[in-house]
């Protein structure tokens, strides 16, 4: 008989969440064809209250049997998601950990501290004697903090010196501005960590404009096609990237659907590693169809 699955994700307000929206809809379109008796309800929300409203509506008016959710702000969403669970729905949480354990049936996790740690490892390797680096952060929200802490822990005890960190809001324009000003301020920068490829794209333009693209390298994150292509091409400015694929949402939707339709037992945690993308393995991350 009919099964309804709700999918709730944050609004496409920067590259990575844009990718999440894209891959979620892709997966839904694909699975709708494969499983004609499964109906999907998709919603994206710019903030926690709206996202809570979305899942309340899914339960109250759309009669969902399962919920796949990438919570924009997991702490704020925990009790609302728990209500869905308590109403007897199957709950899959993606990427971000809720603040109480055991709410979700299935957790498909990204690894935010790992993203920071991976990048840190590369910096240590690329700058063994140490050197000045700057950090362009995302928005002041927990994921950013986890990435940042992971990175700082990773470079502890080295001679890498963080000159300053500023928020660039996961946004190309802000990446451009902050990088311009860092370049004005610091005559000697060896490396830039942006933790997000959208920010990188803005920062790259600023570095090129200042003509200092020979002096430094930049490490982003999330695996945007444009950057992966540059890595594959052996760019000196972007030698590596750290994966953090928005396609994890698709994995979560697929697993949940499989469970509901064919009773495949899925539970516990699926942690999708954040891996370092280098010239050697970049080809495996290229996907011309992806908008991200």
């Amino acid at each position: 008989d009919k099964v309804t699955i709700g999918v709730s994700v944050p609004a496409a307000d920067h590259g990575w969440t844009g990718g999440v929206n894209y891959f979620a809809q892709q997966a839904i379109d694909r699975l709708k064809v494969t499983y004609p008796n499964v109906e999907f309800v998709f919603a994206s929300a710019p903030d926690a209250p709206k996202q809570i409203a979305d899942i309340e509506d899914m339960v109250a008016t759309r009669g969902i049997d399962a919920l796949v959710i990438l919570p924009g702000d997991p702490d704020a969403m925990t009790s609302a998601i728990k209500q869905v669970k308590d109403a007897g729905k199957f709950v899959t949480v993606v990427d971000r950990q809720l603040s109480i354990n055991g709410v979700e049936n299935l957790y498909v996790a990204g690894d935010n501290p790992g993203l920071g740690a991976n990048a840190a490892a590369y910096f240590k390797e690329a700058l063994p004697e140490g050197g000045n680096i700057v950090i362009l952060r995302g928005l002041p929200i927990p994921i950013d903090q986890q990435r940042f802490d992971g990175f700082m822990a990773g470079i502890e005890g080295t001679n890498l010196k963080v000159l300053d960190d500023e928020f660039a809001n996961w946004n190309r324009d802000d990446g451009f501005k902050v990088m311009q000003d860092f370049l004005t301020r610091f005559p000697d920068i060896k490396g830039v960590w942006t933790q997000d490829d959208d920010i990188s794209l803005g920062a790259i333009e600023a570095i090129k404009q200042a003509g200092r693209d020979k002096d430094m390298f930049i490490v982003g994150g999330a695996g945007m096609q444009q950057i992966i292509q540059a890595v594959a091409d052996g760019s000196a400015l972007t030698p590596v990237d750290v994966s953090y694929s928005p396609a994890m949402i698709a994995t979560a939707i697929e697993l949940t659907t499989a469970h509901l339709v064919s009773g495949v037992q899925v539970s516990g945690r699926y942690v999708l590693d954040s891996t370092l993308i280098t010239k050697d393995n970049a080809a495996g991350f290229l996907d011309p169809a992806s908008p991200f």
């Binding site: 809570i52 409203a53 109250a60 008016t61 702000d73 702490d75 925990t78 928005l139």
Partner: protein, 334 residues
């Protein structure tokens, strides 16, 4: 000799005649409800309606405060950030009091008190800068919008402030329970709306707000203390933001730098859709309630169907907002 001709003038008092200006938003509301009913049979269900009303209550309560501010010719852009900082401080206060008070209602009540108090203080600050500092309300509250938002980011150290789970369990019923099946947020919203309506129509304060918004000089010459009345509108706004946050915290149990983003825009939109004049002089609490519910319903209706691409939600919202006001205008001129 008798003066002006009676037949061209004096119409009898209107008594309980329906105000055409009210009919506009009500009509838009009715059309939205109709749309909801056709889209989904569960639309009118008890749980859906209480869901929508309960979650509209934060913005609703804030918008009632905004109605007074706007009627008196002011503007408060800081309410969203203020909500965030109040939520953050409430959570910190409650977490901090657990060791001394233990888990229980006393902690929650202390948290609530601190929230209301902080709201009042924030309102006093905005109001004093505007009335005594003589700075445009737009600038003051744009400034405090940034200041409050920064403060909560700072307090949360860039992350999220979360309420202790045991306290959260005590506090939760304030959002999710109610009396006679009506959730508390709806009850509080209704109470605030009724009190607001009375304050606006039946007290000197409400009348003074309209007078000041309409013509400050006239108000001043009528020996109204313009600065104090205006200050009071900002304090009222702050306190009502505090009240809204009291209901918000048990729902989310956390606060971060993204809490309450764009609430100011939504609150002002609700006020204007409800028929209050943005330039001041005329305000209608009742209309604001309708306006906020319209905004809440639009979000709900978008979730009732899968026809519109979620990317176009904003467009749908925009069109409905314009239409809601267009209906009002049409009726007004006819």
């Amino acid at each position: 000799m008798s003066a002006s001709a009676p037949d061209t003038a004096a119409k009898p008092a209107r008594g309980f005649r329906i105000d055409l200006k009210t009919a506009g938003p009500l009509l838009a509301l009715a059309l939205l409800v109709l749309l909801g009913i056709t889209l989904n049979e569960n639309f009118l269900s008890y749980s859906n309606l209480t869901n929508v009303l309960a979650r509209s209550s934060f913005i609703g309560i804030i918008a009632i405060g905004a109605t007074f501010v706007i009627t008196a010719g002011g503007l408060d852009l800081s309410v969203g950030s203020m909500a965030a900082v109040i939520a953050g401080v409430m959570i910190m206060v409650m977490n901090w009091l657990i060791p001394s008070f233990g888990i229980g209602w006393s902690v929650v009540l202390a948290g609530m008190a601190s929230g209301i108090l902080l709201g009042g203080v924030a309102g006093v600050f905005n109001g004093l800068m505007i009335t005594r500092g003589r700075i445009e309300a737009f600038i003051v509250t744009l400034g405090t919008m940034g200041i409050f938002r920064s403060l909560v980011t700072f307090l949360a150290n860039g992350g999220t402030l979360s309420l202790n789970f045991n306290v959260a369990d005590v506090y939760r019923p304030v959002y999710y329970d109610g009396i006679l099946g009506v959730p508390w947020p709806i009850l509080v919203f209704a109470l605030v709306a009724i009190a607001g309506e009375i304050l606006m129509r039946r007290t000197a304060f409400g009348r003074y707000c309209a007078a000041i918004g309409s013509n400050e000089q006239v108000a001043r010459y009528s020996s109204i203390n313009v600065d104090n009345v205006r200050l009071l509108t900002y304090i009222l706004q702050g306190v009502l933001v505090g009240v809204a946050v009291l209901l918000y915290v048990p729902r989310l149990g956390s606060a971060s730098s993204t809490t309450g983003v764009l609430w100011e825009l939504e609150a002002i939109a609700g006020v204007i859709i409800g028929g209050t004049t943005l330039k001041g002089g005329y305000g209608r609490i009742w209309g604001t309630v309708v306006g906020v519910v319209i905004l809440g319903l639009i979000g709900n209706i978008l979730n009732l169907q899968s026809l519109i691409s979620p990317y176009l939600n904003g467009a749908f919202q925009g069109v409905i907002i314009i239409l809601a006001v267009l209906l009002q205008r049409e009726r007004r001129t006819s």
